[in-house]
């Protein structure tokens, strides 16, 4: 089973992201679960969402304490929230940031990957510069980096479940996927 945690702000789409990811994995024939830790969060406040992916039915309905992946939609959050909490030593933290992954020193074992997908999202007209909607772009990058879902499934999932602008989101995700590809080649990372 793979467990993924999303960090975002109220209104940024972290919850949709967890659902879309689950949906994508479902399209690949896997069992999935996506949920949120609600604290009746308001617009702007930090929120958490989760996805579980497995090859057999998922019956565990308790929360995720030790994620395999952490996806941070807004790098600013990392200043206030312990985004690396519980991350498995073998895990990956993905941060949407134009800074370098290494500059975030969350956890000595888990690897940190940083990529600026905000610009991608904005390019496709998702949100505004002050509140970009980056969730699908993050997923695109994540799909490539983690290899947990294939691009086609992801794009189909976005098309089927994005709350608005499906095509724009699909395009953004695709571009982010490709950017991640480049980034990996550049960083010499294989999966």
């Amino acid at each position: 089973m793979k467990e993924i945690r999303f960090h975002g702000r109220g209104g940024q789409g972290a919850v949709s992201a967890s659902n879309i990811l689950a949906h994508a994995a479902f399209l690949e024939g896997r069992y999935v679960q996506a949920f949120l830790l609600i604290g009746a969060e308001r617009r702007g406040a930090p929120v958490l969402a989760f996805t579980r992916i497995d090859d057999k039915p998922i019956r565990n309905r308790s929360q995720i304490y030790f994620p395999d992946y952490v996806l941070v939609l807004d790098a600013e959050l990392a200043n206030f929230v312990d985004v690396a909490s519980g991350i498995k030593p073998t895990g990956t933290i993905f941060v949407n940031s134009d800074r370098d992954g290494e500059s975030f020193s969350f956890n000595h074992k888990a690897q940190t990957v940083a990529m600026d997908v905000t610009s991608i999202a904005l390019k496709h007209g998702l949100g505004t510069s002050t509140s970009p909607i980056v969730n699908t772009s993050v997923l695109g990058a994540f799909a490539r980096i983690s290899g947990e879902v294939c691009l086609d499934a992801l794009l189909q999932a976005i098309e089927e479940t994005a709350p608005a602008k499906p095509q724009e989101n699909v395009r953004a995700a695709k571009e982010a996927y490709e950017e991640a590809e480049k980034w990996m080649t550049k960083s010499n990372i294989k999966t």
Binding site: A75, V81, S129, T130
Partner: protein
Amino acid sequence: MDDEIKYKNVKELPPMTVSTGLMLVNKTGSWRSLRPIIDEDKCISCMICWKYCPEACIDIVDDKPVINLDYCKGCAICAEECPKEAIEMLEEGK
């Protein structure tokens, strides 16, 4: 009433859900993605920003508005309402 309250176990709890501390412990500055910057030169101390701030986080210091960034959520109402356009909203982290 302004301090942090740390209950360690049930025996320390009051008998019911009674709140005795202030939410000042909750630094809502972390919510902000835009940061208001007051241009002191433009500012005429009309205190309209103070008046409309939903966070009550603009202090009056020496007759001038001073934003407490611990709490400012970056809603930009102050900037919108300032008659002198003396407040600019900058992206956080930029």
